[in-house]
Amino acid sequence: MTVCLNGEEVAKKIGDAFPNSIDIADKATIIAKSEYLYQIAEFLKNNSDLKFDYLANQVAVDYMDYFEVVYNLVSLEYNHSLTLKVRCNDRENPTLPSVVSLWRTADYQEREIYDLMGITFTGHPNLKRLFLWEGFPGHPQRRDYL
């Protein structure tokens, strides 16, 4: 059985390495600050107890006040999983750091989020629209697109 790691314990480990980088940590998820996203992701991947080498899923949700990007991480070696989230409050021009250099799975998933939600990922080698054509007006997956 894949064990869901307790968010509070992992948050303590992250807090030792990068103090003051986590907003909320409860039993199920960890919500990190967007400036520290890349460092936390690198720590989670390379730490020998955690070793999250497989990014199973990356999705963006539009709660009208903020955008939230969810990363579902899995470790194939230890068979445990964790949910990492990041929030972005800017509505006009949201940006987040890209994790493509850590997990190449994020390549197409970040392009899809850029296409349908409008969040720009800095550091992505080829960020252009995936499903819709250039010049399509708007970002359809947002809750205020009709």
Binding site: L76, R104, D107, F131
Partner: protein, 367 residues
């Protein structure tokens, strides 16, 4: 005297015999050797995730059928498993067994199609497809007997399944299970030692193990690269922990291994079917669930082992009759991330085979 050469871009357009659907590739070639591959997708983007926010949870089940249209039963199963996890619904025993029987039959049908069209790309034209279609038609007859549809079944419901099996179903299924190993041996005999298949696929399009894990591959593509990871074993859902089956893995990660694993998985699925039919209990086929279901506020990420890989659903609910966010983790889009690395340095004919061995279905890539 040196000849001046320069690379040129070839467009393998959306309408093409070997692209398994509307898929476009821009290939940069130096002579006939590939320098760069750029997939262009979106020609079948129907906006399913946006449409699903305007329909109730039960109305979304036919919408999920049409994503990976070669394996509709497992699409249904992934979605209803996610909703049941979100709402905390318990599924009766008989419904679980019926779901597993349908999912394994679907796995056999999907792998038959995957192997058949892979051999079609190799140049064996329609002969292997027609041989494998013969078995697939038997499976489609079983599904037709059960729910009236041949391709997009809409069979599973939140809390169980929609129809109980008629009396003729079990005897037809037992006959199918008895004949299937004989057919799998027939395919092995025709194909496994075939010289052309061996020369053209062994060593072609190798996906090394760390690249497979890093690009998030799953299903037969990951297992062919040497990682023994199958969600039915690693994170069992439904009642898969009661059955006895092996997980075939291979170690080189070339096209031949991806083909070989599919044939072995057909054998393992037949084993699971035998055990499930022997243990099938009596009982209800669906839990008592309200017509318009309102799960409590929360979110869930749940995944199953679909024939093509790890199919996951991420659902967010805000206690209303329709989901707030409906997202599918697209198995095949993520498997496709490694296409460029696997095909640089090979020729165009090899590109077609490498793409065929990943076994894509454009409905799920584009959603």
């Amino acid at each position: 005297m040196a000849i001046k050469t320069e690379p040129f871009i070839l467009n393998m357009g959306p309408q093409h015999p070997s692209t398994h659907g509307v898929f476009r590739m821009r290939v940069t070639l130096d002579g006939e050797v590939i320098v760069d591959v750029e997939p262009v997708i979106g020609y079948l983007h129907r906006g399913i995730e946006k449409l699903a926010e305007g329909r109730t949870y039960t109305q979304n089940i036919p919408l999920t059928d049409r994503m990976d249209y070669l394996a509709s039963m497992t699409n249904n199963q992934a979605y209803v498993t996610a909703v049941e996890k979100l709402a905390g619904i318990q599924v009766p025993e008989r419904a679980e067994y019926l779901r597993i029987i349908m999912a394994e039959l679907m796995r056999i049908a999907s792998h038959l199609m995957g192997v058949g069209f892979f051999l079609n790309d190799l140049g064996a034209l329609m002969t292997p497809v027609l041989y494998m279609w013969r078995e697939r038609e038997k499976i489609l007859d079983l599904f037709d007997m059960l729910c009236g549809q041949r391709l997009t079944y809409n069979y599973m419901r939140i809390g169980g399944v929609s129809h109980d099996i008629p009396e003729e179903f079990l005897s037809a299924l037992k006959r199918f299970i008895a004949e299937m190993p004989g057919f799998t041996d027939e395919y092995d005999q025709l194909l496994a030692e075939n010289e052309i298949l061996l020369v053209r696929t062994k060593g072609v399009g190798i996906l090394p193990k760390d690249l497979a894990i890093n690009t998030g591959a799953s299903g037969p593509v990951l297992r062919a690269s040497g990682v023994k990871w199958d969600i039915r074993r690693a994170d069992p859902y439904s009642i898969y922990d009661r059955f006895d089956f092996d997980i075939p893995t291979a170690d080189s990660g070339d096209c031949y291994d991806r083909y070989w694993i599919k044939i072995q998985e057909i054998r393992q699925s037949t084993r699971i079917l035998e055990q499930a039919v022997a243990q099938l209990p009596e009982g209800d086929i669906c839990a008592d669930v309200p017509q318009l279901i309102r799960p409590p506020v929360g979110e869930v990420y749940s995944r199953i082992e679909a024939p093509k890989g790890e199919l996951g659903y991420y659902l967010v609910s805000d206690n209303s009759i329709a989901p707030y966010r409906f997202h599918v983790r697209p198995t095949e889009l993520i498997n496709l991330t490694a296409l460029r690395d696997m095909s640089i340095g090979w020729k165009i004919a090899d590109l077609i085979i490498i793409f065929g061995s990943i076994d894509v279905c454009l409905g799920e890539i584009d959603r």
